[in-house]
Amino acid sequence: MTRFLAILFTLLGAGLVAAAFAVAGFILPAVLLFLFFVFWIFAFSRNWDWIHAPGLLLASGLAAFGLFLELESAYIFPGVFLSLAGWDLADFASRLRLASPEDDTRDLQRRHYLRLGLTLAIGVGLVLLAVNLQVRLPLGWMAALALLAAWGLGVLIKRLLQGN
């Protein structure tokens, strides 16, 4: 089930990002993304776990590039969300491979889906808020907020990596 969802979300995510490019007439990035994810499916079927990170990086990078080109964000944002969910589920599927037959993996999966859904819902909410709420700030405030965000993110990452 988790593998199926990982493939589904990853392909939908990549498909949406590719569609954003295709609709705007940029065929080459769309074809490249499509070809990469054909290879991704092959790698996933062979349990090559290293493929998931480049997959997410490519989808996110192209999504950012698409936003920079002012492509349709109705395709781009859902595409990134689904790619992120696919990346997470692909890794979760690889962890589930370590379970023994007597493990209650259904309970683990149910809990994981719940957490993932909740996290993504908060992410969607924040993105919607950010896209629709337009606040004009002076440059000094913007710089201060950017520095604060960077510092907060740095602290967050440091603590996470220390935990690992």
């Binding site: 999504a63 992120l84 370590l98 683990l108 809990r111 996290t119 993110l153 990452i157 603590r159 990596l161």
Partner: protein
């Protein structure tokens, strides 16, 4: 690269790109991954308090027998969403039923208990570590620790049953046993005739001889049978036992276990000297307890090369003078002097030699040059073994493709009468 680091990098890149481009939507693209990181941090595993307990169905088994391992892991801290428990096993142990790994959720105060079955090759194994990896629900943050448990497992070599091993050392011990003692007295085999003495059984009178001597009465004497000291020397030198990736050492160990059992069953006092990287000495003793001690020693032994000695070195002070020595070794021609020295000091020496030539040849593809080389080396080996027999050493050359019992029955169970070299 860890997942947390990768996602952090991606988030940073998106934020930087958004700031550089002055594009709010690019910044917004970083939100989902930032929320992921925040969620992971909030649920990051901290103060993991787990304890583990292990029980084994047996601590000593024969090679190839199964052992059931039961592990109980208890969570003495707060709830843990995703816990990977992995019983770390040495390479030579194999899980044959169940799994040594569990992926579970452990509530605070809860525990998980499971059983799996192991099987393995000869060896001594310390089973004292359970590796635990605790992850938060999204799997970005993890904490690992190793839980210590009690547990040791001896997998001893299989013991083949030999009916008897015929040896004839010069010196015996005082207790009665099965080895001919070269002295007249109670026994089975005819030994000598002497003048009848008071106390001799009338059944021992040799009537035929007495009839020829009218003045005296003669009585038969039988050969006493006693127990002896047997020192078994197992050769674990890498250069004599290993050929590429193949090793004949396991065959040597199996033969040693069978010989130890046979000698101890006959009531003899047996000690074991292992000669490999180091010298390992199991003090001589009698009975089943000594058999267990030697099997435990055998389970631990690994071949290796001594840094101190280039040739076979057998410390004679460990073995009583004129006792029986049994060397289990594939042998090389360089070993002749060490063995001749033992013979010259009055030891009775039996060599059980797993045939290294046929063993090495069996691992090579058949071809003309291999066949020719095999013939040449075999001839040299046979000449060497003949030299050993010439100085009174009993040699059993064992082609390891044949069962050891079969070879031992043919070569060792016959009673030794007199051998060349003054046995």
């Amino acid at each position: 690269m860890s997942r947390a680091f990768f996602l952090s990098l991606l988030t940073f890149l998106l934020v930087l790109a958004g700031l550089a481009a002055g594009e709010a939507r690019l910044l917004a693209l970083a939100f989902p991954s930032a929320v992921f990181l925040l969620a992971a941090l909030l649920r990051a595993p901290e103060n993991v308090k787990l304890s583990a307990q292990r029980t084994l169905s047996a601590e000593r088994v024969f090679s190839g027998e199964d052992v059931q391992v039961t592990l109980t892991v208890k969570n003495e801290g707060r709830d843990l969403e995703e816990v990977l428990l992995e019983d770390t096993l040495p390479d030579r142990l194999e899980v044959v039923e169940g799994s040594n790994r569990r992926l579970v959720r452990l509530a605070g105060g809860g525990s998980v208990k499971w059983t799996y079955t192991l099987c393995g090759k000869r060896g001594y194994f310390m089973l004292h570590a359970v590796r635990v990896t605790v992850r938060e629900p999204l799997g970005l943050s993890a904490a690992s620790q190793v839980l210590s448990t009690d547990g040791q497992l001896f997998i001893v070599p299989p013991v083949l049953r030999l009916r008897r091993v015929s040896i004839r050392p010069r010196r015996t011990r005082i207790f009665s046993g099965t080895i001919p003692a070269r002295q007249g007295g109670p026994g089975v085999e005819f030994f000598d005739v002497r003048e009848y003495q008071t106390g001799d059984s009338p059944r021992a009178i040799n009537w035929r001889l007495t009839a020829r001597h009218q003045q005296n009465i003669y009585a038969n004497q039988y050969e006493q049978e006693r127990v002896v000291d047997v020192g078994i020397i197992l050769d674990g030198r890498r250069r004599t036992t290993e050929f590429g990736e193949r090793s004949i050492f396991e065959h040597s160990v199996m033969a040693t276990a069978a010989l130890v059992d046979a000698f101890l069953s006959a009531g003899n006092r047996v000690g074991l000297l292992f000669y490999g990287k180091q010298i390992h000495w199991t003090m001589p003793g009698y009975g089943k307890l000594q058999g267990e001690k030697i099997l435990h020693s055998l389970s631990r032994l690994e071949p290796g090369d001594s840094q101190a000695f280039n040739e076979l070195f057998i410390p004679r002070r460990l073995f009583p003078a004129k006792s029986q020595l049994v060397l289990v070794s594939p042998l090389t021609p360089d070993d002749f002097h060490a063995l001749a020295d033992l013979r010259s000091k009055g030891y009775a020496v039996l060599v059980v030699s797993p045939d290294r030539v046929s063993f090495e040849a069996s691992g090579l593809p058949p071809s003309g040059p291999v066949s020719l080389a095999q013939r040449i080396i075999r001839m040299k080996q046979q000449l060497f073994l003949r030299r050993l027999r010439g100085i009174g050493i009993q040699v059993v050359s064992w082609d390891v493709s044949q069962p050891f019992e079969q070879v031992a029955r043919r070569e060792l169970e016959r009673r030794q009468i007199i051998q060349r070299g003054g046995l």
